[in-house]
């Protein structure tokens, strides 16, 4: 379709905009930036293929667009779109109303996105396509052209490949699926290890059952033994008590008591006696303590008077240890002073100064100055070393210079234009090589039999008289294939129809044959016979019945007659049966006959219909033949069959290819030869002497090489000489610099040294030592001064202390020696403290003695009172002897005690009897033997212990077994592992599904691309070559398979040099991509309705030459395809004005419809 006019209403900035194209094959929409070019572009696309769902150009409530265009069959198509709440489209096709579906069909059923993808060109797409071409396979490149870009295709393929590799690799263990399978294997092993086997459980259960039985048995035995032991133990435990009870009873009977003496009297007596005894004990204790206190007081003696100098003693005593420490410190300081003096002496010796110089001792160097002096020192040393090295090198360089000057030879004469000559020879050699290569290629091509064989093969089909031409307008392979399919289909239908007719004929003949064998007459005869038979039978029966109905006759009928009649009847009946079966057969035959009759009629009808179908097929065959002839009407020969012509077309395409290759090769050789000639003439003009034509390039190259070598040697010597001179100069300069530096450092140092108060000339290399020694000396002097000061202070302190101690001694009247006085002061302090302690003790003892004397007096009074009470009790029992009273009381007590013991023993024996009557138990005790009982108990205990231990073990085993079984029941390790295994399998299934889908996608994609390429490759390649040649101005002429790498392709330039896509420049790749896209659109348009192609400023990156070539290619494009260019670049208008001035131009800014030529003219004027 070519657009005639597009009207946009309320579309973005356009209230109403009419774009008139007049179905021109090329229209340029020109507009500078901000002139509404993008709006026009989108308006155009959306007017054709529908408004976008959410378009930013909808400013009001509605927008609309009207389009009128001309289809390839010259029909007019007009439609209008309206966007409001719901999009509407109405229109006409060839003057009649058309449904939206029909309109869509006329636009190849494309939607907006697909149209943009296939028929739109933009700068971004061009860039992406160019980048994708770098690594594209041929099939991919062609398919990408059909997809509107290779980028997405390549990205998808790479992504699929990567994803597949990540998911699974048949070898290797790092892919997700392999890792998962390894995990599953581990889970299997874990599962096997965690499963509980039935045999193991059965063994446990059996063991548990045995243990329970054993435990029950031992429990019973244990109970019996315990019972026996308990009885023996009771006897044993009761026996000592019983014997004790007997002894007590005997003692009680031996005690005599007076009457009237009871336990109340005894208790009263005892109470008083006890109290008296306690009083006496306490009185004795108090008196002893009183005497001890008095003796202690006497020992303390009288009190001493405390000295009035108590304060001074205390002060000096406490200070004594401190004074002692000060004496030690004084001694240390004196030793320290002596050491410092020695060090100072040694330092001064280091400085080689005999006497102490006060100025020197006060001299100090600041840290920055010290650092500076050290730096100077380092510079001085470095300078000295470098001076030595430079001097040595200078001497060597001077010797070397002399040697080079003596070696340099005088310069020889060489051609002045040597470089130019070398360049000429090189170019000539290169051109000759190219000529040779092209000649060889041409020769190989000429020698190759393929072209001749193809030509012969082609002429065999079309006739030897025909001359093959590359300009023939031949039908496409697809058309031939369609014809072939149509013929094959027709042939199949014809064969089927003929076979069907033959089959019907055969069936008809068989039916006719079958129907003729049926004999109608025999059926009539059978009916007649049956009738006769029936009549005869009826006659006999009637006659017989008549005879039998008359008694006389009946009686006269002999048995023979009756037998005859019966036999006759029997014969007739048999005959009737035969006849009846024959009649049935005849009836069946008749029915069959009727059926066959109907069948024959039906067959006749079908035969007629089939013949009619055959006629129709024959007509179609003729029609196909006419179409076939029409297809080949433009060629000077008669076409053969489809199969032959299809193969022929294939060979013809190859022949054209080869033929063009041959022509191209010849042209190339011719051009190369001319270039060689031209270059040689140029060389002769520049050669320094006469040069013959027949001198080979090898000889010329040899000469040039010789001159070059000579020139190179001379040049090298010259460079060496210059280099040596420069080196000597440099070394001399450096030596001068070093000497200056040396002088500067020495001067600085001398200046500083003059300020130092020493007489000798100290070397700069050892300045650090000088500074360090001076510092050390200063530090030692300072230390000595501080120590001397401290010694003076300490001596004053000690003298003051000693005089205070001597004063105190004088006061106390004591004599002290001349030695250390701190000992005296400490001793006086200790005496003072002991005296204070005694005084405190004396006061405490006086108070205690007074208190004890009072207590003794009170206790004596209480004792007298108790003696009176005891005397009163003696008189009560008429006994004045208190001693005898005591013995009586004692007997009473003893008897009572025995009674109580007997009672207690009886009570304690009773529990041992358990349920046995006490009397019987005591009787048994009477006869029991303790040793025997003990032996019995021990034996029973041993048995009980053994049984108990055994039972405990059994119970423990039962517990352990039960616990183990419960654990097994509740242990879900196997289940957990099973679940883990199932989980891993689930994950594996997910990964496997991903892999399968992607693997299938990869396979589908590869197959689709290969299929597309196989079907369309020849045509697409042919067009691509054409467009590439035009777009590159003839620099690149061919795109073909790369024989070195399967699936890849190469681009050849005019010199037949192959380039892989990645070897091309970016600009050339963009041109190649453009060529592929144009090829696809051309190819597509040959078979379908051509749609307008919109190119949105996609040549921005092209230089002027490339832009011009691109525009030329578009101008020369298939006129059936309408191209709409959008651009904001004036150079596009200018280019078009040069070679296609009639190109229609729409100037958006000026709202002007004109031509390129007029617009440029108007602009320049």
């Amino acid at each position: 379709m070519k657009i005639e006019r597009v009207t946009l209403e309320n579309f973005g900035i356009y209230t109403r905009k009419v774009l008139t194209f007049d179905a021109a094959p090329l229209v340029l929409i020109y507009g500078p930036n901000e002139s509404g070019k993008t709006t026009a572009l989108n308006g155009l696309r959306q007017a054709l293929f529908g408004f976008e769902m959410r378009t930013p150009y909808l400013t009001g409530r509605t927008m609309s667009a009207e389009v009128s265009g001309r289809l390839a069959n010259d029909n007019l198509i007009e439609f209008s779109r309206r966007k409001s709440k719901q999009d509407e489209v109405i229109g006409t096709l060839a003057g009649r109303n058309a449904s939206p579906e029909e309109l869509l069909q006329a636009l190849c059923n494309l939607d907006l996105a697909s149209y943009k993808q296939l028929f739109g060109f933009s700068l971004d797409e061009l860039r992406e396509g160019e980048a994708a071409l770098k690594s594209a396979r041929l099939s991919e490149a062609l398919a990408g052209g059909g997809l509107g870009g290779m980028h997405a295709l390549q990205e998808l393929r790479a992504e699929l490949q990567l994803s597949l590799m990540e998911l699974y690799k048949s070898r290797g263990s790092t892919s997700k699926i392999n890792l998962k399978l390894a995990d599953i294997q581990k889970s299997h092993e874990s599962l096997r290890a965690s499963q509980v086997l039935p045999t193991a459980v059965e063994e446990l259960q059996q063991e548990l059952s045995d243990m329970k039985l054993q435990s029950d048995r031992e429990r019973e035995l244990f109970a019996d033994v315990l019972q026996a032991r308990s009885a023996a133990e009771r006897l044993r435990d009761a026996l000592p008590k019983f014997r004790q009870r007997c002894a007590l009873e005997r003692q009680l009977s031996n005690i005599e008591l007076p009457s009237g003496v009871d336990m109340s009297f005894v208790s009263q007596w005892s109470s008083h006696a006890d109290q008296r005894q306690k009083l006496l004990d306490k009185l004795d204790e108090e008196q002893v303590q009183l005497q001890r206190d008095r003796a202690q007081l006497a020992q303390l003696g009288g009190s001493q008077e405390i000295s009035a100098s108590e304060g001074e003693i205390e002060h000096l005593g406490h200070q004594a240890s401190e004074i002692s420490a000060s004496r030690h410190r004084l001694q240390e300081l004196r030793e320290q002073i002596d050491d410092a003096r020695g060090i100072c002496q040694r330092l001064l010796e280091t400085l080689e100064l005999a006497d102490v110089n006060d100025d020197l001792r006060k001299f100090s160097v600041s840290p920055p100055k010290k650092a500076e002096l050290q730096k100077r020192c380092r510079e001085y040393v470095t300078n000295a070393e470098e001076t030595i090295a430079v001097t040595a090198r200078l001497e060597a360089a001077v010797d070397s210079l002399a040697a080079i000057e003596s070696n340099v030879e005088p310069f020889q004469q060489l051609p002045e234009n040597l470089l130019e000559l070398a360049s000429f020879v090189e170019r000539l050699q290169k051109l000759e090589r190219e000529l040779l290569a092209k000649s060889e290629t041409l020769q190989k091509f000429v020698d190759d039999r393929e072209l001749h064989d193809l030509q012969t093969k082609l002429l065999n089909v079309v006739g030897q008289a025909v001359t093959l031409a590359v300009t023939w307008r031949l039908p496409s392979a697809m058309q031939v294939q369609q014809q072939q399919h149509a013929e094959e289909e027709l042939r199949r239908e014809l064969t089927t129809a003929k076979r069907h007719v033959a089959k019907l004929d055969k069936e008809y003949a068989i039916a006719q044959e079958q129907i003729e064998t049926l004999d109608q007459r025999s059926a009539d005869e059978l009916i007649s016979k049956a009738t006769t038979n029936r009549v005869a039978r009826d006659a006999i029966i009637d006659q017989w019945l008549d005879d039998l109905s008359q008694p006389l006759i009946a009686a006269s009928i002999s048995p023979e007659d009756q037998r005859d009649r019966l036999r006759e009847l029997q014969r007739l009946a048999t005959a009737a049966d035969v006849l009846q079966s024959e009649v049935f057969a005849a009836a069946e035959a008749l029915a069959q006959f009727n059926q066959r009759q109907q069948h024959i009629e039906r067959l006749q009808k079908e035969i007629l219909a089939s013949q009619k179908q055959l006629d129709e097929l024959s007509m179609r065959e003729q029609s196909l033949q006419r179409e076939w002839q029409l297809l080949w009407k433009d060629v000077p020969f008669e076409a053969s069959t489809c199969e032959v012509m299809l193969a022929w077309l294939h060979d013809y395409a190859r022949w054209i290819d080869l033929y063009q290759q041959g022509e191209q090769l010849r042209r190339d050789v011719h051009i190369a030869r001319g270039l060689v000639r031209h270059e040689r003439r140029q060389l002769q003009d520049h050669w320094p002497n006469n040069l013959r034509d027949d001198v080979s390039t090898e000889v010329l190259t040899g000469q040039i090489r010789q001159w070059e070598s000579l020139r190179h040697d001379m040049q090298r010597d010259r460079e060496r000489l210059v280099g040596a001179k420069v080196n000597v100069d440099k070394l001399q300069t450096r030596l001068g610099e070093l000497q200056q530096q040396h002088e500067r450092i020495a001067s600085n140092y001398a200046q500083w040294l003059s300020a130092v108060p020493i007489t000798l000339n100290w070397p700069l290399e050892q300045v650090s030592k000088l500074i360090d020694t001076l510092e050390h000396l200063r530090r030692e002097d300072e230390s000595q001064r501080r120590a001397t000061q401290q010694v003076c202070e300490l001596e004053q302190q000690l003298d003051a202390y000693d005089s205070r101690v001597r004063d105190l001694a004088k006061t106390m009247g004591q004599v002290v020696g001349t030695g250390s006085l701190e000992g005296h002061a400490e001793r006086w302090l200790n005496e003072l403290l002991a005296m204070r302690h005694q005084r405190t003790q004396r006061i405490q003892l006086n108070a205690a003695i007074e208190h004890r004397a009072r207590t003794v007096m009170e206790l004596t009074a209480q004792q007298v009172e108790l003696d009176k009470k005891l005397a009163t009790l003696c008189s009560t029992v008429n006994d004045d002897n208190p001693t005898a009273m005591g013995a009586l009381v004692e007997r009473v007590r003893r008897a009572e005690s025995i009674r109580v013991q007997i009672s207690e023993l009886t009570a304690s024996i009773e529990p041992h009897s358990a349920n046995e009557p006490l009397g019987e138990f005591l009787a048994r005790l009477q006869s029991a033997d303790e040793v025997t009982l003990q032996l019995q108990i021990e034996e029973l205990s041993r048995e009980a212990h053994r049984l108990d231990e055994s039972r405990k073990l059994a119970d423990q085993s039962i517990g352990a077994l039960t616990q183990r079984i419960e654990q097994l029941a509740n242990n879900q390790a196997a289940q957990r592992n099973q679940q883990a295994l199932q989980d891993q399998r689930g994950e594996l299934a997910e990964l496997a599904e991903q892999w399968v889908v992607q693997r299938l996608a990869q396979e589908l994609l590869n197959r689709s691309i290969e299929r597309f390429a196989a079907d369309h490759e020849p045509a697409l390649l042919m067009y691509t070559r054409d467009y590439l040649k035009k777009l590159t101005g003839g620099r690149y002429v061919s795109v073909e398979h790369d024989n070195a790498k399967l699936g890849s392709f190469v681009v050849r330039n005019a010199r037949d040099e192959p380039y892989t896509p990645d070897q091309l420049s970016t600009g050339t790749r963009e041109q190649l991509y453009l060529a592929i896209r144009m090829a696809y659109i051309t190819h597509h348009s040959e078979h379908h309705e051509p749609l307008p192609v919109i190119m949105d400023d996609c040549f921005v990156n092209f230089d002027d030459t490339r832009t011009r070539h691109a525009l030329e290619a578009i101008v020369d494009w298939d006129p059936a395809i309408q191209t709409i260019l959008l651009s904001c670049h004036w150079r596009v208008v200018q280019s078009l004005a040069e070679f296609a001035p009639q190109t229609a131009v729409i100037h958006l800014e000026k709202d002007l419809h004109t031509t390129a030529g007029e617009l440029v003219l108007c602009h320049s004027s």
Partner: protein
């Protein structure tokens, strides 16, 4: 109480993103379902518990489940509740039985011939026969004894009746055969889907379904049936759920959605309803995204579904105890391949895919390619019912995956 197909210790299908505690809980889901059933039996004071086969999952070596059941059923016998059970195809040869010492009140009907158990106290008679082998092809019901007069007669049978698409055919029989026996109730097992109503008008014939769904093909509530008998006749049947995890598939139409993030909002609101309907149980959710959408291309990119899974999983965990089983992409590209009239590489996709679908030789070639993976992993994949590893389902699955592959390509190559 009628229950069947407990499949003890049968693993559940894989669920991602589980914390350890929940994973442990789900591992023991089958045991929990039987525990729940026992608890319900005690709470409802049932006369007997009837298990119509497949109490155990299979003849595995591990017999822990047998010991565990032995302990669990002691609770029922202590409460005076009888247990009558038969063996089905899964547990016909189960090792678990070797370690069980059934108590007095637990009756396992034998496989040699049909047997009858009578509970005089309750007026109940149970007839049934266990499977002697995994593959029982005879009509066992045909030889069941005549009903006992004056009792409520219950038949126990593990059967697929006339056959099922999802289950193997075992002990085939017909409704008329079962009707002809004159029993009051037929407790059937083997089919994991509960019968909504009786298969017959003459007596009750039905499946109770399994007690715990194990994968997404067993969705919805699972449990047991309480059979209420009044005056010696069937009054009504009451379903009680015993499952602790419920499988649900959520179909989400994403045709109108513009962004991937919108999917999460839609799923979240739908999942909330599912969570409420699950009555406090955990829900294992499979999400199936469907509809022609422009999001399809994004959904087919590597890692997108995984990220959506992670994000949704986190959001759903806030909604309730919902675990994502999988996200299935059943959507289609919003745009189909451009006009079939055009000579486009994409047009060949359909041709090639059709060839793979219809041409046996092409299909075999494709399977040879896929065999690269299958030969190493077929066994494991078959264990989780992966259709491509199963010869019977291979054809259909390959077609489905082919369609997905085709959609993937179209979505990625056709600019939205």
């Amino acid at each position: 109480m009628h229950l069947a197909d407990v499949h003890l210790d049968s693993p559940l299908a894989h669920l991602k993103r589980l914390d350890d505690a929940t994973a442990t809980r789900l591992q023991s889901a089958s045991r929990r379902s039987l525990q729940n059933a026992v608890q319900l039996a005690i709470e409802h004071q049932v006369a007997a518990v009837v298990i119509a086969g497949d109490l155990f999952d299979g003849p595995v070596k591990d017999v822990g489940a047998g010991l565990w059941v032995d302990g669990l059923f002691k609770r029922l016998t202590r409460e005076g509740i009888a247990v009558i059970l038969i063996r089905g195809n899964h547990d016909s040869l189960s090792n678990a039985r070797r370690v069980i010492r059934w108590s007095e009140n637990i009756h396992e009907l034998q496989s040699e011939a049909p047997g009858t158990i009578v509970l005089e106290k309750h007026g109940l008679a149970f007839h049934g026969q266990s499977f002697g082998a995994r593959s029982e092809t005879a009509d066992l019901a045909a030889n069941y004894p005549a009903p006992l007069r004056g009792y409520f007669n219950v038949g126990l049978l593990h059967t697929s009746l006339a056959g099922s698409a999802q289950h193997d055919t075992y002990a085939p029989t017909s409704i008329s055969t079962l009707d002809s026996k004159g029993y009051n109730y037929w407790a059937l097992g083997h089919i994991h889907v509960r019968s909504e109503q009786s298969h017959s008008q003459h007596c009750y014939i039905g499946y109770s379904g399994n007690t715990q769904g194990r994968h997404i093909r067993e969705p919805g509530a699972k449990g047991c049936q309480i059979v209420h008998i009044v005056d010696g006749g069937l009054d009504h049947v009451q379903f009680l759920p015993t499952d602790s995890l419920r499988w649900q598939e959520l179909l989400v139409d994403i045709e109108q959605l513009d962004y991937l993030g919108d999917i999460e909002d839609v799923v979240e609101s739908e999942a909330l309803q599912l969570c409420e309907a699950a009555d406090g149980r955990a829900v294992a959710l499979r999400i199936r995204l469907q509809g022609a959408t422009k999001l399809h291309a994004d959904l087919t990119r590597a890692g997108v579904v995984e990220r959506l899974f992670e994000s949704l999983g986190t959001r759903l965990a806030d909604v309730g105890e919902i675990w994502l089983e999988a996200i299935r992409i059943a959507s289609r590209p919003a745009r189909v391949v451009p006009s079939a009239d055009l000579d486009l590489p994409l047009k060949y996709l359909t041709q090639v895919a059709d060839e793979l679908r219809e041409d046996g030789r092409e299909r075999e070639q494709m399977l040879v390619v896929l065999e690269e993976l299958l030969k190493k992993s077929r066994f494991e994949l078959a264990e989780v019912g992966w259709p491509l590893a199963n010869d019977r389902e291979q054809a259909g699955e390959l077609n489905r995956l082919l369609a997905m592959a085709e959609d993937l390509l179209v979505a990625r190559l056709v600019t939205e």
